[in-house]
Amino acid sequence: MKLLHAFALALLAFALPLAAQEAQSTAPYAYRQLDDAAQEAQAQALMETLRCLQCQGQSIADSDAPIAGSMRSLVRERIAAGEQPEAIRGWLIQRYGDYVSYAPRVTALTWPLFALPLALVALAGFLLRNRFRRGQA
């Protein structure tokens, strides 16, 4: 009986912080999934590629920061309203810059990141071809 009592206490100790976390957000869909499973999957996929503005190493899907709750709610409500995930990402990038998104885009600033590896592979191929030719000769 005593053991059961201790177990109940331990359970309560774990349950209380959880309840406090739930009470943290006044945004409707911060901790509530969408009823439509397909839409929730779409929202989840987008949330995993958006940066929490407060705990900046985390995605908003992982973070318990209050603003991440607001961002999740925003994403879910807009998906439920039929908006495309990339349009929502664009809306956030318009306000916070590319930093808010974990999915890299090809822009006037970032294209060398995508072009350079291809250029290096081409250069390596060119050099190797010359070397093999010389070996045959």
């Binding site: 943290q24 006044t26 945004a27 209050p66 709750g69 709610s73 925003l74 306000r95």
Partner: protein, 185 residues
């Protein structure tokens, strides 16, 4: 066998140091990045853009609600984003009071707050706000490109965002904000 080696032009003597030099350059780059103080502020990209449209309900019965239409009056105003649960907001309250006493109109947006907590917060720290909007979902905060509380925007008389102050307003920021308001005229 030795024929190909003789046809290859000899590299200059200094070329042997090239890989080491490249490596050292890389080390310097890493060290600079490692010891430079981190900049964790995410600034809004809406500077010099029109204030996004919003019309928020009043969080308390007695206070008038805040809306973006209130900023079209021709006079520059401050838009303060705050919350009763945010400690730096408490720290900036005297400075907001000072600005309000200097004749600045301050509109407030309380983010993810409850009426009871907000009432207690305003009772304790004073109410410098002309109007307050309750942004329970945080949607208006996100539409403004605000990444936390407190933040203060300088909005000019035509309803355009002119400046974003991230973090609490310390005493040394008051003259700077007054200057920004004057420049927004």
């Amino acid at each position: 066998m030795s024929a190909p080696e003789t046809t290859r032009p000899a590299a200059p003597r200094w070329a042997i140091w090239l890989p080491l030099a490249l490596f050292l350059m890389f080390v310097v780059l890493v060290l600079v990045g490692l010891f430079r103080p981190a900049d964790r502020e995410v600034a809004s990209t809406l500077i010099d853009q029109p204030l996004p449209q919003f019309a928020l309900p009043a969080p308390l019965p007695g206070t008038p609600p805040a809306a973006s239409a209130d900023f079209a009056g021709g006079e520059p105003k401050l838009l303060n984003i705050f919350a009763s649960w945010c400690l730096p907001c408490k720290a900036e309250a005297p400075q907001l009071g000072q600005l309000a006493a200097a004749g600045v109109t301050i509109e407030g947006i309380s983010v993810r707050d409850t009426p009871e907590a907000l009432k207690a917060f305003l009772g304790q720290n004073g109410n410098p706000y002309k109007r307050i909007g309750a942004d329970d979902s945080g949607k208006v905060q996100l539409s403004l490109g605000s990444s936390g509380v407190p933040e203060t925007y300088v909005i000019d008389g035509r309803g355009r965002i002119r400046y974003q102050h991230i973090g609490e307003i310390r005493p040394e920021h008051v003259p700077m904000l007054l200057d920004k308001l004057k420049a927004a005229r």
